[in-house]
């Protein structure tokens, strides 16, 4: 019987071209969200089979297996079994495999087949296989597997129509398991399956999968509850296997691979066995002891050059556009609260976020490109040794590096890290990397600190701040891995996929997806928060009072005064307190807030501000901006998480407020302690 297909799902290994196929199926009709309660990304889309026939497509996370060891695998399994909340059980599975790496790719296929769903195999990257002089007998493969097999080249749209027509006509689910385990194990698995069918009411295929899963584990599956008698029967079977000295887990894996090998022997003809492939030849250079570093550093330098120089052109344009818009509103509306809200709250707030878009775009262009070509895994391979020193993974390197531009894309790119704990640690320490928004603050403080110093001395101080941030990130990563996010020595293994030409469409789609998420999720919340911050700095109103005094009397000013006792040991007064509070919208706001505090208007030149800082004093006449206080303030900016956008993005990426709150607090404590040590320690040593 064929059912009418409403929902299909795409499954497959990482690097099998699954995403490219998903893009070819759904074009721009895609939705990206999260599965409830977990941080796994949920990608769905709509595939138009005919004018009046559209099916849902679920793009499962790329996994090597369905054993439940990672959140990705758990979700893949739950969706396929129809157990995932808010997700319909798929009527059909399209499994995407890399035809050039069939042996390992088919492992997942055997696991999905066991679930008994109607299934089609998309034999992807057939062009590469042909180029390598290999021949795959598609008909034979289809007969062995018992499912339709369609050769595809997803990035050239080849085979897509065939897949669509198969989906439209539907395929029968008449799966019979062909791979076999050792007779003893086979008998126990069958026995357990029957127990599960009889006592737990599981359907046959699901019961078999569950039985194999239970046999593979030494203990009971904690996630599920069974009836008492079932549990005792499971334990009895596990004990029998244990006595026989049978490691069921290994036996099951071997049985699947043995079967795959026997099929491939019959279907694949390798004409060109000798000679190094393109990947091997490229890797001889790109992971070479010397040239590997040259290329790696070159790519990183190019990326940063683009981010810090090329990106400034569109960034200036965006700034100008928002300025012009603000001026236009000023001229179009009568003065008053509404105009002030629109200009200083909404336009300035949104502009402050949108201005980072060019940097984010460039960063994601590079990240998608590196990922799509396969170089990303090599970068992780080269850097792993360095990152492992602080308990992290080679894959944490790119997110941390990206955070020098802006923590937001850095945190978003941490998605490439599979281990949830490593990913979380990376996210937690990423904002310690000095981002570009700290530059204006460092610049003004260095100018006040040593107005007469030369460029090199200033650069030296700046570099020290960057190094301080890196040291903080490494230290905290090490600390988190040791305590809070301690994991039992995880097996670190990573595939080094073949090098491939990038698909520009995939790169563009990836960039678009990230930008859309950034603008939508961060933009909405940040808009709301900038309005709140604006209100705090504007109300209560005191007509007739000049700008600086009005700010002091505002809620933000009151807060600045309120926290003065707490920040006095760091060397700051209430005016700096207002600057710190204002910085939570974005760090660079410090400069304009301070201009307002010192009644210079918010467009003051750097020199004017520097002079105002130099004149500023405590009520008893001591200067406020002493060298020590400038250092203490810079150190505070190195460590504190004064960035609403980051908090919002971390919330989105971790799917809870717990981690962004924790991050905010730990970084605040770190910043406070570090500044305290600098200021008080410096004073003890006799500095000013």
């Amino acid at each position: 019987m064929t059912v009418s297909i409403r929902t299909i799902c795409l499954a497959g290994n990482p690097n099998s071209g699954k995403t490219t196929l998903f893009n070819a199926f759904t074009k721009l009709r895609q939705k990206v969200g999260n599965y409830p309660g977990v941080t796994v990304e949920k990608k769905t889309g709509a595939l138009a089979l005919a004018e009046d026939r559209v099916v849902n497509v679920i793009d499962l996370p790329g996994t090597y297996s369905l054993s439940v060891r990672s959140p990705d695998e758990q979700i893949a399994r739950d969706v396929l079994l129809g157990r995932a909340p808010d997700t319909p059980k798929p009527d059909m599975v399209v499994c995407v495999v890399d035809a050039g790496n069939l042996e390992r790719n088919l492992y997942l296929v055997t696991q999905i087949q066991d679930l008994g769903l109607p299934m089609i195999l998309a034999l992807n990257m057939m062009d590469e296989v042909e180029r390598q002089g290999r021949r795959i007998d598609v008909d034979k493969l289809s007969r062995h597997l018992g499912i339709p097999v369609v050769p595809t080249v997803a990035h050239q749209n080849k085979g897509i129509e065939e897949l669509k027509s198969l989906i439209a006509s539907g395929v029968k689910a008449e799966y019979r398991r062909i791979w076999r385990m050792a007779p003893d194990l086979e008998e126990e698995a069958e026995h357990l399956k029957n127990v599960l069918v009889r006592q737990e009411g599981l359907e046959g295929n699901e019961a078999f999968v569950e039985a194999v899963n239970l046999l593979s584990q030494a203990k009971m599956n904690e996630g599920r509850t069974y009836k008492k008698e079932t549990v005792s029967q499971i334990n009895a079977i596990q004990n029998r296997l244990h006595k026989m000295g049978l490691r069921a887990r290994t036996a099951v894996i071997e049985a699947r691979y043995d079967w795959i090998k026997s099929i491939l022997k019959d279907c694949v003809k390798d004409k060109n066995k000798k000679g190094l492939g393109l990947t091997e030849r490229l890797d001889a250079v790109l992971t070479h002891k010397l040239f590997g570093w040259v290329f790696f550093l070159g790519i990183m330098a190019l990326m940063f050059y683009m981010i810090f120089t090329v990106a400034t052109i569109p960034m200036d344009l965006i700034n100008q556009a928002f300025d012009t818009l603000g001026k236009w509103v000023v001229s179009a509306l009568p003065p008053g609260d509404v105009r002030d809200l629109i200009v200083n709250g909404i336009i300035a707030g949104v502009g402050g976020v949108v201005v980072f878009l060019p940097q984010i775009l460039i960063l994601f262009f590079f990240i998608s490109l590196l990922q799509d070509t396969g170089y990303m895994a090599r970068a992780a391979f080269i850097m792993d040794r360095v990152m492992s020193k602080v308990g992290l993974h080679g894959k944490s390197f790119i997110p941390l590096l990206s955070s020098f531009a802006c923590a937001i894309p850095g945190i978003m790119s941490a998605r490439t890290i599979e281990s949830p704990k490593d990913r979380l640690v990376t996210i937690l320490v990423a904002p310690l990397m000095s981002c570009s928004a700290r530059l204006p603050v460092y610049a003004i403080m260095i100018a006040v600190l040593m107005p007469l110093a030369g460029g090199w001395q200033k650069a030296g101080i700046m570099l020290m701040m960057y190094i301080l941030g890196i040291a903080g990130a490494c230290g905290m990563a090490w600390f988190f891995k040791l305590t809070l996010l301690r994991s039992q020595k995880p097996i670190f293994i990573m595939e080094l996929p073949p090098y491939r030409l990038p698909s520009w469409k995939t790169v563009a789609m990836h960039m678009w997806e990230r930008v859309r998420l950034f603008l939508k999720r961060a933009g909405t919340v940040i808009l709301a928060l900038s309005i709140i911050l604006w209100a705090l700095m504007t109300y209560p109103k005191h007509p007739g009072v000049e700008q600086g005094q009005a700010l002091k009397l505002s809620y933000a000013g009151q807060a600045g005064t309120f926290i003065e006792p707490a920040i006095k040991p760091l060397g700051y007064d209430w005016r700096v307190g207002i600057g710190l509070i204002g910085s939570f919208a974005a760090r660079e706001v410090f400069v304009s807030t301070m201009s307002i505090v010192f009644s210079l208007g918010d467009e003051a030149k750097e020199e004017t501000l520097r002079e105002a800082f130099a004149r500023a004093a405590w009520p008893d006449g001591r200067p406020l901006f002493t060298p020590l206080m400038c250092l203490s303030l810079m150190v505070f900016y190195v460590f504190a998480l004064q960035c609403l956008s980051t908090v919002v993005v971390v919330y989105r990426e971790t799917n809870s407020w717990r981690w962004p709150l924790f991050q905010f607090i730990y970084m605040l404590i770190l910043a406070y302690l570090a500044s305290l040590i600098v200021y008080q320690g410096g004073k003890l040593l006799g500095f000013q």
Binding site: L290, I382, I491
Partner: protein, 80 residues
Amino acid sequence: MSKSKRQTVLLSQMPVGQQGIVQDFVFDDCERLEEMGMTPGETVEVVRYAPLGDPIEIKVRGYFLSLRKQEADRIKVKIL
């Protein structure tokens, strides 16, 4: 070479270019490795070491895999 002369070593001790057959894992938590195709009896080849000496790139079942020495230290291999 006769069978008895074949040495069993740890994967981390194999030089670049050396092939061997996976014998056993010295630790229990090796399911991931097995699922990635490193099952007992399968041939593996050391392709290269990373520029800083760790991790190791190996070839197994026709594709390339990177693992740390820490893991390779716990895989027994019979040299081919």
